[in-house]
């Protein structure tokens, strides 16, 4: 959830970018016959009533240009998403508790809120477009006196999402495929980090998933053995690039580098919950020195309590299927 970068805190750059998947997972989305799972690196393209708890992330620290090694990062995050109308949702969450090794440090991340709106969806073609604005509220996590303080500044992030399933193709082998994408632009509300006087750059974050849904295959193409019928394997990627207010290059530190991870993931879609795991492979030394991991348990509140907690505050529950 924390998608902020601090030029003066190079180790935090990699940590923030590589741990964002911990809270990137929120609601799963259903458009027509397509289930878009709550993916680990980026958010899915719809609104829903869900609870991601816990969302775990581990990423080994990167290697600085001067050869020093950044701390290994772990965190346990959470997020609660609520629909206001069938197309409008809000969420609150956090990267939660974070800790580092080599050297040891720990602290609580800031709280982040988000409002998201589905601009367009086409059930027949399993296509959806949404936009959102999130706010990471500065100083709502651990204080500056903590060993791992939260950012003391607020960051506003406009976001766009897209999702497309290919169930409308004729070729049965291609019909289980789906893609999703997300692009964010994070804008800190102060240009200088009061913790250490470093610059707070704006950051462009962009990611995508390529999914091959065995859940879809089982229902619409070819019946599968039960142990495979609820799985959605995927390949995911996410990158973050500092855009402005980055300042000059600093000897021995990453400043302008794009960081990111790619890797395989798999999701089990249960009746009331989803479990997802991913191996995240850093794209360069600024991102990490070897493979990390992401995992999430996501509870479908719209399925657990569809008539109370899990339905929109206003309006009928979202349509889940094509017209017929």
């Amino acid at each position: 959830m924390s998608r902020t970068f601090s030029v003066g805190l190079p180790s935090a750059i990699a940590a923030a970018s590589l741990l964002l998947g911990a809270s990137g997972a929120t609601a799963h989305t259903i458009v027509g016959n397509r289930v878009f799972p709550a993916t680990l690196t980026i958010d899915d393209p719809g609104v829903n009533d869900e609870l991601a708890l816990p969302a775990f992330a581990y990423m080994p620290g990167g290697i600085e240009p001067n050869g020093s090694i950044d701390p290994d990062n772990y965190n346990l995050g959470w997020e609660y998403a609520k629909t206001i109308t069938p197309d409008l949702g809000v969420s609150i969450g956090s990267d939660g508790y974070s800790w580092q090794r080599n050297p040891s440090a720990s602290g609580w991340a800031n709280i982040e809120t988000q409002m998201k709106y589905v601009f367009y969806q086409n059930p027949e073609h399993e296509f959806i477009v949404a936009g959102a604005t999130s706010v990471e509220w500065g100083s709502t996590g651990s204080p500056a006196s903590s060993s791992l303080p939260s950012d003391p500044f607020t960051t506003v992030t406009p976001k766009v999402y897209i999702g497309k399933g290919f169930g409308d193709l004729e070729n049965d082998f291609l019909r289980p495929i789906a893609v999703t994408g997300e692009m964010d632009y994070s804008i800190p509300t102060t240009s200088i980090n009061s913790l250490d006087g470093s610059l707070n750059p704006t950051v462009l974050t962009y990611g995508a998933t390529l999914q091959y849904s065995l859940l879809y295959t089982n229902s619409y193409v070819h019946q599968l053995p039960e142990e495979f019928s609820k799985l959605i394997p995927a390949v995911e990627a996410i990158f973050s690039s500092p855009i402005s207010n980055t300042g000059p290059s600093m000897p021995g530190q990453w400043v302008h580098e794009t960081t990111g991870v790619v890797g395989p993931s798999v999701y089990y879609i249960g009746q009331y919950f989803e479990v997802g795991v991913m191996a995240q492979v850093p794209i360069n030394e600024a991102s990490g020195r070897h493979i990390g991991a992401l995992a999430v348990v996501d509870f479908f509140l719209d399925d657990i309590a569809p008539t109370t907690l899990g339905k929109p505050l206003f309006g009928a529950p979202p349509s889940r299927a094509n017209a017929y």
Partner: protein
């Protein structure tokens, strides 16, 4: 953190176990099976969904791949399974089963699948 997580997880799991409301109904398995080839004409269609479904708003249809409609009997629904008798023996060929259901929490889903009848 542990003191926070344990009661939260307990509450969520308790909610899961005690809530009777069901979820989106997707096709779990069928007879004839999705995408299969069967020898000889099946006498009925049987579709089992991931959730219980509502009889009044759920149905099934059968067509040959060429588009010709095949009569099927009125579907009967028991829990999460819909069955319907096929009106007459099917000739060898490819057939398309189209279904639409409403789960008990009012979510609509629909879909179709093929099976092949061999001599």
């Amino acid at each position: 953190m542990r003191r926070l997580l344990e009661p939260l997880l307990t509450a969520v799991f308790t909610c899961c176990l005690t809530t009777l409301a069901l979820a989106h109904a997707f096709l779990d398995h069928a007879t004839p099976t999705v995408g299969s080839s069967v020898q000889g004409s099946p006498s009925e269609l049987s579709l089992t969904f991931t959730q219980n479904i509502v009889a009044g708003f759920s149905g099934v249809g059968l067509k040959s791949e060429g588009g010709g409609s095949v009569p099927v009997g009125k579907p009967s629904i028991s829990g999460n399974t819909l069955t319907a008798r096929i009106g007459h023996a099917l000739k060898p060929g490819v057939y398309v089963v189209s279904w639409h259901v409403v789960s008990v929490d009012t979510h609509h889903t629909q879909g179709s699948f093929k099976f092949t009848v061999t001599p």
